[in-house]
């Protein structure tokens, strides 16, 4: 049984060689172990209200620089005037490193066909009416929602809330989809924040 013997010895040789080389090569990743190269954390959402009459501006923000968990987020209460028309733009930031604040809004613009903002106002009826800015559309002519028009009426009740949702990889052509209804759109939630809203008489 020479062949068998040869086979056995070569098997042993292969094994013996492999024992010496069994430490796995660690990744050729430059990042030192333990560093959090966090994938794009969205920490801040900034709403800038521009009064269409006098062009005066006011901003409100949702800010959670340490991300989910840890310290609770700081959320501004929105105060806007009644019977006024506002152009509202939304900005999304990664401010987890205060020395290197990253603007994620431009990335949403780059991927605008896959993203859409929704605005759901829960205040007394007819106090506010939010609509997409007709110029804020993606390559397919669908709304993106980075820019919106908010018209306020005489409030029947002063206080309410407004919920702002950013959906990702949704179907913008789904039936029933509206600025305040994303239920049938599928996709995932990137942002879902709720502000207290007061319409000042």
């Amino acid at each position: 049984m020479n062949i068998s013997k040869y086979l056995r010895f070569s098997l042993i040789a292969v094994m013996a060689f492999s024992f010496t080389s069994c430490e796995k090569d660690d990744d050729n990743d430059d990042t030192p172990p333990g560093s959090t190269n966090e994938e794009e954390l969205i920490t801040d959402l900034v709403l800038t209200f521009t009064n269409t009459d006098d062009q005066s501006q006011v901003t409100f923000m949702f800010s959670d620089p340490d991300g989910p968990g840890g310290d609770p987020p700081a959320v501004d209460d929105i105060f806007i005037d009644d019977s006024t028309s506002y152009s509202v733009s939304v900005e999304v930031l990664d401010a987890s490193d205060p020395n290197d604040v990253e603007d994620i809004t431009t990335e949403i613009m780059d991927e605008d066909e896959a993203h859409q903002f929704f605005y759901i106002a829960e205040s007394a009826d007819n106090s506010i009416d939010i609509s997409y800015d007709i110029f804020d559309v993606d390559g397919n002519g669908n709304p993106v929602g980075l820019s919106t028009i908010w018209n306020t009426n005489e409030p029947t009740a002063d206080n309410g809330t407004v919920r702002i949702v950013l959906r990702h990889e949704l179907n913008k052509d789904a039936t029933g989809i509206a600025i305040d209804d994303f239920a049938g759109s599928g996709g995932e939630t990137d942002i879902d924040v709720t502000f207290n809203l007061t319409i000042v008489d």
Binding site: S4, K5, R8, F9, L11, I12, M15, A16, S18, F19, C22, E23, K24, D26, D27, D29, T31, P33, G34, S35, T36, N37, E38, E39, E40, I42, T43, D44, L45, F62, D64, G67, P68, G69, G70, P72, P73, V75, V92, I104, E107, I108, D110, E111, H115, V165, H168, A183, G184, G186, E188, T189, D190, I191, D192, V193, T194
Partner: protein, 782 residues
């Protein structure tokens, strides 16, 4: 084994000599042992009958028997054992005598594999497991699935690609896994992390608890799952096997090969090499394909052994590589998304076509084990064993969420990347004088865990040193084994909790102790076991912080956690009634300072609301029973009935815990025919398996009122996101035969193509379980 039998036979003949003088007409005594012809192991509870006088006896659990008061004369001695072909021997008795009977296995019996450890004299507790022959019918499945034939063994799944063993309701940190004698070190904390072990490696899978686990670990609160490869010294000639498996569901299969032997007669160098691979595509429920549920695996291992006159040395190396797809629609944005999926507002586009592609989310897992072991026989009574092992475990998780517009670099790297290195050294001295045996040992373990990517768990280094002493002796009719173990655990926690220069130090220490007592009863035995174990809180329980994508929940560690301590009691009773064999276990496990994830709050993030689960401590009580009855109705027709019952309760609050397996009942019939020319041992089996609904489940999360109120005031003290699914019945069938050295098995699972959800699957919120699956398994031995 053979020399052992000789020694026993000689011993018994020597003992027999004493009685010779006292011989009268009817005072003859026959002593002996009934052993398995193939393995030489003692066969428990074999029956030995003298047909002419109807005198008889049952062998004890190690196969020894004794017949007394026999008259001089000619007799036919008939030896039977469940699972074996009976043997007859015509004898002429004129004085005390000794016999060893070797019985051949009759393949017609269903579950002769249940008790696997009678031969191991070091174990007092009955070692219950699954042997090679039975493992053949689950080839190609995950390890946890292979272990399911063990009474009390269940599994926790995450989708269909990740299965984690659960024993008597306990899992994860509390159920340790021993691979080739080495404590398996992986990221075993999350339920979506299965043991990183090649199931093809296992020749035997079994469970031990209590005193027998003390030698391996202080923290085997829920027991220890032993995965044992073939003994490297097992074959003097070149032998091996090739195994193949194919399945219709997932349109995949597995291949494995093993080769072992001894280099030459003059050269006592032994070797074993083994390789396996697995590839599956998307699984199918009765209705749809589940997107991204494929898996692929390539594993290999080898071992070398040298046998000297009074010593043995072996090295073992194994390498495990796996990529598993995670069901695409299990990754959700937030609580609203989960609510929409659970309530059916949103349906998942599952109707896509079958694919072998594995896309995000997926896991890339690697595991390496190197082990060296030396055993030296100092003299006939003393032995020393030294073991060193080193393990590397790498786990990379690729999320769906890679940012709004990821760069190529961001796309290439995992979002979560852990590397764990473990060194383990053990030194054990064993002493055996007659029925008294002792072992004393020291162990040292060193771990280093580092991460890259998403911050979930800090880096840490940890060491654990232990010393144990065990003793086994006979006390009257009881065979006792007891022991104690001291362990000290130290951990240094680095980034981001502490820093490399100034880590946070933690230390814990404690005693574990256990006692087992076994008593032979008429044609059976009874084993009682009591144990107390402890475990230090794991680093994730102390410091985890962040979002768990699979369930859309924030997990928050608790640095104030104390060590957990268990007090367990169990009783195992075995008995043979004619052609029926019964195995029944009752157990209770009281766990003080039981660490668990408790839902506490709804946390607001920029991605919306998420439930926050905090690690908390309470006292927990687990209790239950496992019952197994197997036997033969008539020749070639066997059955097996099993019941697995488990209860668990939060003693502090009276709440139920989540993910406790529901009661399960199974029945299997097997029919075997005689050999037909070249077709050996053809058989078919039909099995039914009923799993109850888990009625002891936490309340359902009140989505509506939480969304409405936007507050946390309405949260129950314990909740789950969906109600426990209904109970379900599954029908399966198997058939097999052997042609020469090749065996074939055909299996049909979920024959009725039943649509059901499994409470023990974390993805039960989103997906149904697998539908009909037909498998073919072929094994060729050479």
């Amino acid at each position: 084994m053979k020399p052992f039998i000789w020694i026993v036979s000689i011993l018994m003949s020597l003992l027999g000599v004493d009685a010779v003088n006292a011989q009268d007409n009817c005072t003859i005594q026959i002593d002996g042992q009934v052993v398995d012809a193939e393995s030489g192991e003692g066969l428990s509870f074999a029956s030995v009958i003298l047909q002419e006088s109807s005198q008889g006896a049952y062998a004890d659990s190690a196969g020894f028997f004794s017949l007394k008061g026999i008259c001089v004369g000619d007799y036919t001695l008939r030896v039977t054992h469940i699972g074996c072909a009976p043997q007859k021997k015509v004898i002429r008795l004129s004085g005390d005598t000794t016999f060893v009977f070797s019985l051949n296995h009759d393949e017609s019996i269903l579950h002769e594999f249940v008790v696997v450890g009678e031969e191991e004299k070091e174990l007092v507790l009955t070692k219950i497991g699954v042997r090679e022959a039975q493992l053949e019918s689950t080839t190609g499945l995950q390890l946890a699935e292979q272990a399911l034939a063990i009474p009390g063994m269940r599994m926790q799944e995450t989708g269909n690609t990740i299965a984690k063993p659960v024993f008597r309701g306990l899992q994860g940190n509390r159920l340790l896994v021993l691979n080739a004698g080495v404590r398996q070190e992986g990221q075993y904390w999350g339920s979506e992390h299965a043991p990183e072990i090649d199931p093809f490696l296992a020749q035997q899978v079994s469970v031990i608890e209590g005193v027998d686990a003390l030698r391996y670990a202080p923290d085997a609160i829920g027991g220890l799952l032993l995965v044992e490869p073939a003994d490297v010294f097992g074959s003097d000639s070149l032998s091996g096997s090739l195994t193949g498996m194919g399945a219709t569901n997932g349109r995949g299969g597995a291949l494995g090969g093993e080769l072992m032997g001894r280099v030459s007669e003059k050269f006592p160098l032994y070797f074993r090499g083994q390789i396996s691979s697995r590839k599956f595509g998307d699984m199918k429920t009765p209705d749809v394909f589940l997107v991204n549920t494929g898996a692929e695996e390539l594993n290999y291992s080898y071992a070398l052994g040298w046998k000297g006159d009074a010593w043995k040395a072996e090295v073992f190396y194994s390498n495990f590589n796996q990529r598993i797809g995670i069901y695409r629609y299990s990754h959700l944005g937030n609580l609203t998304d989960l609510y929409e999926v659970i309530t059916g507002i949103r349906s998942n586009p599952d109707t896509t076509d079958f694919s072998y592609d594995i896309n995000r989310p997926y896991q890339d897992i690697g595991h390496e084990l190197f082990k060296g072991r030396v055993e030296v026989e100092l003299d006939a009574e003393n032995k020393i064993e030294a073991i060193y092992s080193r393990q590397f475990n790498s786990r990379k998780e690729f999320d769906v969420h890679v940012g709004i517009n990821p760069s190529a670099e961001e796309l290439a790297r995992p979002q979560l990347d852990y590397a764990l290195t473990t060194h383990l050294g053990e030194l054990v001295w064993r002493n055996k004088v007659g029925a008294l045996s002792r072992s004393v040992g020291v162990t040292g373990l060193f771990r280093e865990n580092t991460f890259r990517g998403r911050n979930f768990m800090p880096n840490y280094r940890n060491s654990s040193f232990g010393a144990f002493a065990l003793e086994q002796r006979n006390l009257g009719i009881w065979k006792l084994k007891y022991g104690i173990r001291y362990e000290r655990y130290d951990a240094d926690i680095f980034n981001p909790i502490g820093s490399e220069d100034d880590p946070l130090n933690l230390s814990f220490d404690g005693l574990s102790a256990a006692l087992a007592a076994k008593k032979d009863l008429e044609s059976g035995d009874l084993t009682l076991s009591a144990a107390t174990f402890w475990r230090a809180p794991a680093v994730n329980e102390l410091f985890a912080s962040g979002l768990h994508h699979g369930v859309g929940a924030i997990e928050q560690g608790n640095s104030e956690l104390l060590q957990e301590r268990s007090y367990s009691l169990s009783a195992t009773w075995r008995r043979v009634f004619g052609r029926t064999r019964v195995l029944a276990t009752a157990y209770t496990n009281y766990i003080e300072n039981y660490i668990f994830l408790n839902p506490n709050d709804i946390e607001l993030t920029i991605r919306g609301a998420f439930p926050r689960f905090d690690y908390e401590q309470t006292d927990a009580l687990y209790w239950g029973s496992d019952i197994q009855v197997d036997g033969q109705l008539n020749k070639g027709f066997a059955y097996l009935v099993t019941a697995s019952l488990v209860w668990a309760q939060n003693v502090g609050t009276g709440d139920f815990f989540i993910n406790i397996p529901a009661h399960q009942f199974a029945l299997e019939f097997k029919k075997t025919w005689d050999d037909l020319n070249k077709i050996k041992q053809p058989w078919i089996a039909l099995s039914g398996n009923y799993t109850m609904e888990q009625y002891r489940a936490p309340e359902v999360f009140p989505f509506e009122s939480v969304f409405e109120a936007g507050s946390t005031s309405t949260l129950p003290s314990s909740f789950d996101f969906a109600a426990a699914p209904d109970g379900y019945f599954l029908l399966g069938a198997r058939a097999g035969l052997r042609l020469g050295q090749t065996s074939f098995q055909l299996g049909v699972e979920n024959m009725l193509n039943t649509t059901y959800r499994n409470y023990m699957n974390r993805f039960r919120y989103y997906m149904d379980e697998q539908g009909l699956n037909i498998t073919l398994r072929i094994k060729h031995n050479f």
